[in-house]
Symmetry: C2
Subunit: 130 residues, 2 copies
């Protein structure tokens, strides 16, 4: 699973970049070929990598990542609402890749495993949002 999710980081990032929401101000309102978006792509990839590791119990703190997001949000005057919506969009993409993994896996994945992953993911997202 870790291998599967790591392999698909570029796909997840592309999907997310294609779907980002903007209310008109801040970093998400920039053109998608701007330096601002290159930075978003980079940070999203770092985030997924850290998240993937979290699920597998290698305690990777998202604290550093979280702090850099917060300062970037302030610098670019991005509304908090936009950030939260884009987090939700990304979370939905992330779950879709977990679903792909489960469907493509020859070994049956148990419901117990999945709800454990989901609770970790959910907690990590909430920590990062606040």
């Amino acid at each position: 699973m870790l291998e599967f999710l790591n392999k698909h980081i570029p796909d997840m990032t592309s999907e997310w970049i294609n779907k980002t929401y903007t209310s008109g101000n801040g970093v998400y309102a920039q053109p998608k070929d701007s330096e601002a978006y290159d930075q978003l792509r980079h940070m999203n990839k770092q985030f997924i990598l850290a998240l993937n590791n979290c699920i597998f119990g290698k305690e990777t703190s998202l604290q550093e990542w979280s702090t850099s997001i917060a300062s970037d949000r302030t610098r670019t005057a991005t509304p908090l609402y936009d950030i939260i919506v884009n987090f939700s969009i990304f979370r939905s993409i992330y779950y879709s890749y977990i679903e792909k993994f489960i469907e493509g896996n020859s070994k049956e994945v148990s419901g117990n495993e999945v709800i454990n992953w989901v609770r970790i993911i959910s907690r990590k997202f909430d920590d990062t949002n606040s």
Copy 2:
């Protein structure tokens, strides 16, 4: 599962009410024995009931619920951020009951089923938030 989740609606609501976050303004800042909180309890129960039905494909729209939340938020001047945080807190409680169901169930629940539930829940929460 529907039966299990419906049975635990009062527990989920109590847990959530005990954990609500407030930045100091709006409905969540009211005393927990106030009429405002009675209303929150009532709305949360309605929401869980609708959400439980959604997971089982009986197409229950959360639209009506969502509209009443929006107008209540305006009336009580509750910050959007507080609402979103309290949604996250509730989502985490909801997942914990799904976990309880899976653990207490004699019939094995598959990973496929669980990720399907999670994707529906996630979508419903996002629809309601926006």
